[in-house]
């Protein structure tokens, strides 16, 4: 019913939409960094520990955004929707 170009175009749009998932981790990492900054302001002595905890949490929070990227990559390169 649909030709190949149409499906590929729709896949590209879907890939673009999937990458919107990046908003979530962006917000999450921002919140983590903000709270870390507040914590350093309250207790400057614990700067090293706070930084490493923040980085670990941010790296884990990043995962959901990367799942969006993975879906986009699958749509663009593996092309699962093509018959």
């Amino acid at each position: 019913m649909f030709n190949q170009e149409f499906i590929l175009g729709c896949s590209a749009i879907g890939a673009g939409l999937a990458v919107i998932a990046g908003i979530g981790p962006g917000v999450g990492q921002g919140i983590a960094a903000g709270h870390a900054a507040a914590a350093v302001g309250r207790n400057p002595g614990a700067k090293g520990e706070i930084t490493s905890t923040m980085l670990l949490g941010q790296a884990v929070a990043e995962t959901t955004g990367l799942y969006g990227l993975l879906v986009a990559m699958l749509l663009l390169f593996v092309k699962p929707l093509l018959p």
Binding site: E5, A59, V60, T63, L66, L69, M73
Partner: protein, 238 residues
Amino acid sequence: MGANILLSSEDLGFMIKGVFSFYIGDTQVWITTTHVCLLIIIIMLTIFSVCAKRTMKSASEVPGTFQNIIEMCVEMLDNMIKNVMGKNATKFLNYIGTLFIFIMISNISGLLGLRPPTADYGVTFPLGVTTFALITFNKFKHQKVKGVIKGLCEPWPFWLPINLIGDFAVPISLSLRLFANVLSGTIMMALVYGLLSAVAYVWPAVLHVYFDMFSGAIQTYVFCMLTMTYVSDAIGNE
């Protein structure tokens, strides 16, 4: 296909490419760039470890440069693992240390012009499965079968399927996280070099520091940290 102009992976070299193929029976088996890069990294690490062994055999009281570097690495790994795992650390030093060094060098290898092997799901998934096997083994060893079943039926018995899915999601999320992070870095660098090739001089070095070194180091740390946390969880506090 017209739609493939932007996607022409030959120009932007971030896809896995086959080097040569051979047949086992009727199946075509490809040797890809991942295999080649893995081989290079393994050879590098082997040479390094042989040199390290030789240096540490004739270790002196006042360490030289190379001995200093080795001692620093080992001390750092020991401290990291002991901080998280406490008294269980000695049993898992070898596994986590090996994991850390291998993933670290793999992630950084983008700097050497290789395609990082960890940007291939076929490399990270076995790492995740190994960790999963370690977790499950320790669970059965320390909590016994009764404890494991009790843990699966935690709040209520009909929670069992959700707990099972949660358990099996561990290796998948671990490996996907590492894979996608390294892959995203590889894609960004390939886009910079592929699409901006006319002006890509000197300044991509800054991006390399972030995408290859910083991101790679953080993801290595996260992978090892999560492995240690899960294993400590499985052992429990007896």
